[in-house]
């Protein structure tokens, strides 16, 4: 309160309209989930690509980030 009086630049945060948020949330959310899937689970519990190269490449990160690896 006193900060708002002393500094007129401090105003209550205004929300971002949901209509503006939603398309970005779908885009960013999908991107993030795909990325996390390849780091955490591809060629582990399930596989989109054959072989074990992705699994072996991110192997140490997968273990240390806490994902079930193999």
């Amino acid at each position: 309160m006193s900060e708002a009086v002393l500094n007129p630049a401090v105003v209550e945060p205004t929300p971002i309209p949901l209509g503006e948020w939603l398309p970005w949330a779908v885009f960013g959310g999908l991107l993030a989930l795909i990325a996390l899937y390849f780091v955490g689970s591809e060629q582990g519990a399930t596989a989109l690509f054959q072989g074990t190269y992705i699994h072996e490449f991110v192997h140490d990160g997968r273990h240390l980030l806490g994902f079930p690896c193999h």
Partner: protein
């Protein structure tokens, strides 16, 4: 606006990933190496020929511990940074009236508790040589299930805090919400099955060190993400407000 926040979140996540990688190299890799050495000596002692141990390496240990680890951790950081920014954009000014920096800091703390600490209490990180390949499907489902339950419990508790604040006051409502969160997690973790696939001869100290390193990585990741994104989002929000004030 949301796009710019998303980009900032991903940049903060990449920086968080780089710092986490440095820590993982120092504190995590020695444990991974020792666990692999245990796995190999164990496989040779038992004359297994069906396992992976005797197969030629598709990716060298050097690559796994270097570029591979870097790629994994930085991608993870960028992904969480993006999700973090989107969550921030949703609740800023809506479910929370906090300014950008404290909001991001509280979000990081909540994320660290709900997405790292709680799932790790039930299903902690495991080094190589721990885990039966036949149960990978079940373990993966339980791991993500525990994260989902924890996230829902966190959201329910925060909702309850807000509802109780009107009658109990903010301080007491926060304590009650904390108790509710712990109760929900205790029930879920008591009902979910235990997974214990640590070989009997696996060194306890090595397991402990590995898990502490894994936890330390997450602490660095979330702290950097919360503080750095908070700073960047704060700048962005001030920039937006400046032209409005000029009128």
């Amino acid at each position: 606006m949301v796009g710019q926040l998303l980009l900032r979140g991903m940049i903060a996540g990449v920086v968080a990933g780089l710092l986490t990688f440095c820590f993982a190299r120092i504190a995590g890799e020695p444990q991974v190496d020792q666990a692999i050495a245990f796995e190999e000596s164990n496989a040779h002692a038992h004359h297994h020929h069906d396992g992976e141990a005797d197969e030629p390496e598709q990716v060298s240990r050097q690559t796994q511990a270097g570029v591979g680890l870097l790629t994994g951790v930085v991608t993870y950081g960028a992904a969480f940074g993006g999700l973090f920014a989107l969550t921030f954009a949703l609740i800023y000014g809506r479910s929370s009236k906090l300014p950008a920096r404290p909001l991001a800091a509280w979000m990081a703390l909540a994320g660290f508790v709900a997405l790292t600490i709680v799932p790790n209490l039930k299903y902690p990180a495991n080094p190589p040589a721990v885990g039966d390949p036949d149960t990978i499907g079940l373990r993966t489902a339980l791991f993500f299930g525990m994260i989902a339950i924890s996230l829902v419990a966190m959201l329910v508790s925060l909702r309850a805090r807000k509802a109780m604040a009107q009658t109990l006051g903010l301080w007491n409502a926060s304590i009650a919400a904390g108790v509710l969160f712990i109760a929900l997690i205790a029930i879920a973790q008591a009902l979910l099955p235990d997974i214990n696939e640590v070989p009997a001869a696996f060194p306890a100290v090595l397991l402990w060190k590995f898990r502490v390193a894994a936890l330390g990585m997450q602490a660095i990741m979330w702290t950097t993400l919360g503080l750095l994104f908070g700073l960047m989002a704060d700048h962005k929000m001030r920039e937006l407000r400046a032209p409005a004030l000029a009128h």
